[in-house]
Symmetry: C2
Subunit: 497 residues, 2 copies
């Protein structure tokens, strides 16, 4: 008889029942060729004695094996490994595989996705976090949203199935977004131009997926929203980086590039540029529209925080102008409510939306339709619009307060403009104050912040980060600015001495 | 003076304020070259008269244009279009672009995603829907889930940021799933082997994305889960279809294929095969494990409804055996709770999970972390496990009842096996009863059902569909079977006569 006690090594404290451990262990012995097809097992009584378990436990294990065709009962002869199983050359006992283990490395090669820079603290639990521009979820109409969301769970399967009928997402939400875009941005679209995605990120991913292939080139700003760059590169495109100055992206440069070669795509954030928050000037905007049409250049216009503008009137999107169906407009509800509510949208010509809907279904077959329906209700009741107005008022105050604190505490060590909108300021540190060191020290004082290398690209080092003010209350701001002040003063003393 | 009244065509009943309509209209006139840079606008008084609006409305419109640098004020001369704007050759009035319109067709070419077959009713509102295997969301512990979910919304931004720290998804949920997989399937994995996705679909999409390139070949069952086929094809792979019989996929055939060429991937549903619900026999399973190792064949094992098994013991996943880190195991929480809760997971070697996490962030930057945390609580409290036990009991009864009704009502016209688990039966109609006609008639009687062509592939026509019983109560079943009976009898009479 095989040394089952050693081979099976049962763990009585495991949450896996012992009978299952026996059954799984025996399967492994069969699989690894130690027990051959047709060979007999000890009787349940013998096995129980050897393993020092109750006989019923062994019987249960044998029943499991039996029900799965691993073993068969021979009348008056006992139990044997099914002779129908294929023969395997036995290995030595030493090489018995680690039972049920998953290795660290895959047994095949696969595509590497490239680095991902953490934007959040790992492991530690900081007291404070400086994010790159989140809304304050604490003021969002979550109770109202959840009430409706729960109510929709009580619908019958039939009622839900009807909701699922359109692969572009909830019909009611798409109607609501089309109406909202028309009211707020003069974007004259209807449901068939709108597709719901899991956040603006997924909309960018899908549009890029349909426009880029291996070897494509994509025009992006320098600096640019890094997560968009990652997408384009992952899809096999190479980037042409076009400088962004105080008037936005250099449109003449785009024109010159387009004369030489045909890029597959321009990705642009004209309103509150990410990360710098600058707005594309009216003359550049007009030139850009002209050259989009001249060069038939497809554009992703990322307008992630249009609704949060603190100046007189927000600049209208490119999508509102005459662009010959070449602008794919991307927006986000996550920025309106809470970053954990992953709902965004893509606006595009109908043929593009139709194909993108197929892609959406491949990635996320149905979407969270009940959440989408509940969000539609937020628009219908006006709660969304009220919440945005309330947020704009609050965030404007927070922006003013935060920028004032920042200027007071360390105005000589940093450079920043008061952002015209959005949820973050783009703050460049003088080079005597290198961010990696400051971020590391900040972590020790309980503040997680970016060390800035998220925004560096190739040869360009910014020593800058986005400081999200919208989610911070007065006390959090005060504490964060105090830490930054302390650390830059300390760094300053160190470099003076 | 230009005929502004005609050019601007204001709509007083629009939800867009009139002053904005004026401002947007003037922008369009500037953009289209009808109003040239440097040209003067009528005074607000003159414009008000012409447009028959209050002067204040025109002033508001001019202010908006001014704040966006479209126009400038010349002291004592009036208001003119900014001379800094680029000159555009004027078009005739006739070609004034439709203001703010989005066309039906994109102004660029893009990748077509291929057809998508609707699985839900569009337009009409049927009384009854026969889905392809949904859980019954009405019995899910939604109240408990929602209570926690709402509570998490009250967390501070800092507390949330900490939750976001891992790009593979909620740490607590991944721990809970690892423990659950170990308890229920003997899958000895830990958090670092688990990635949270938006449903099993996204996990398949991501894994395939990392394994397939243009020109790859993928082994799939015939028939197969069509949505998986769509993914592989969209990623540029060609499919090799391997027959599925009553013992599951033909493993010898897979072996022969692998000897000739090296496929990039095998996609398999060994437990309750989709769509046929057959289970891979133990001997084939062993042979398959051998050849996975011999040919170093990467495998996606889709085990979407493992927990819903009504026989003695469910068959263990391939992932539980010794596969040399070659099996990527995919599962779903949507099947446990409600199809609208889009949470699934991928289990794989750590290096694969790490890269897949980068891809996950590209597609959906953060995921719904609060929902993930709330789901973790469902596992911790045991509510998830209790719910699964309760569901298995109910669904087993519903399976028995449904199959009994089906056999009674139309046993001579269809062929099906009582499925050993899962939420649907695979029902083949005799060819005298073509499904397209029956589905069309059913729609008239208020029942939406698949017409079966979802499962057809190339030359193979099944005249079959999955009938989801798990989400149907007694009354719904009775009504649906009565409609099917009536329609097949009618079809029978027609073909007899």
């Amino acid at each position: 008889m095989l040394p089952f006690k050693t081979l099976l090594s049962l763990q009585r404290k495991s949450s896996i029942p012992v009978y299952r451990q026996i059954a799984h262990g025996l399967m492994d012995l069969i699989r690894s060729g130690i027990m051959q097809p047709g060979s007999f097992l000890p009787s349940s009584r013998e096995m129980a004695v050897q393993l020092q378990v109750h006989r019923k436990t062994v019987v249960a294990a044998y029943e499991e094996l039996f029900s799965q065709d691993w073993i068969e009962t021979m009348p008056r002869k006992g139990v044997r490994v099914s002779p129908l199983l294929p023969e395997i050359r036995p290995r030595t006992f030493k090489s018995v595989p680690k039972i049920n283990g998953y290795s660290a490395d895959a047994g095949f090669s696969f595509r590497r996705m490239g680095p991902w820079v953490a934007m959040s603290p790992a492991g530690s639990k900081p007291r404070l976090v400086l994010n790159d521009g989140f809304p304050d979820a604490r003021i969002a109409p979550i109770e109202e949203l959840m009430k409706t969301y729960r109510r929709y769970f009580r619908l019958t399967t039939t009622e839900r199935s009807v909701m699922y009928s359109d692969p572009a997402g909830s019909i009611r939400l798409r109607d609501a977004i089309a109406a909202f875009l028309s009211d707020s941005r003069g974007l004259n679209v209807e449901r068939s131009h709108v597709l719901i995605s899991s956040g603006a990120q997924m909309a960018i991913y899908m549009a890029a997926n349909m426009l880029i292939q291996n070897g494509s080139t994509v025009l992006v700003g320098e600096p640019n929203y890094p997560n968009a760059n990652f997408i384009f590169q992952q899809l096999g495109a190479s980037l042409i980086r076009v400088p962004v100055d105080e008037y936005g992206i250099d449109v003449d440069r785009i024109d010159r590039i387009c004369r030489r070669k045909k890029p597959s795509l321009l990705y642009i954030v004209p309103h509150h540029h990410h990360p710098t928050t600058v707005t594309l000037s009216a003359d550049r905007r007009m030139k850009l529209l002209q050259l989009i049409n001249t060069h038939r250049l497809p554009v992703i216009e990322d307008d992630y925080d249009y609704d949060f503008h603190y100046g007189k009137g927000p600049i209208l999107p490119l999508a509102t102008a005459d662009h010959g169906g070449r602008v794919i407009y991307v927006g986000s509800l996550s920025k309106c409510l809470a970053s954990s509510i992953r709902v965004g949208y893509m606006v595009a010509p109908q043929d593009f939306i139709k194909e993108a809907s197929s892609l959406r279904r491949m990635i996320n077959i149905r979407g969270d339709i009940l959440l989408e329906e509940a969000l539609a209700d937020l628009y219908h009741s006006g709660a969304m619009q009220r919440h945005i107005r309330k947020s704009v008022k609050l965030y404007r105050e927070r922006r003013d307060r935060f920028c004032e604190m920042l200027a007071d505490a360390m105005g000589d060590k940093i450079a920043f403009n008061v952002p015209p909108g959005g949820m973050a300021a783009w703050v460049r540190f003088r080079e005597e104050y290198p961010l990696p060191g400051i971020a590391q020290e900040a972590a020790r004082l309980g503040l997680f912040m970016s060390d800035g290398h998220f925004y560096n690209s190739g040869s360009v080092r910014y020593n800058a980060l986005r400081m999200g003010f919208a989610s911070l209350n007065e006390q959090e701001m005060t504490e964060i600015v105090a830490i930054l002040k302390k650390l830059t003063e300390r760094t300053g003393r160190l470099s003076d001495s």
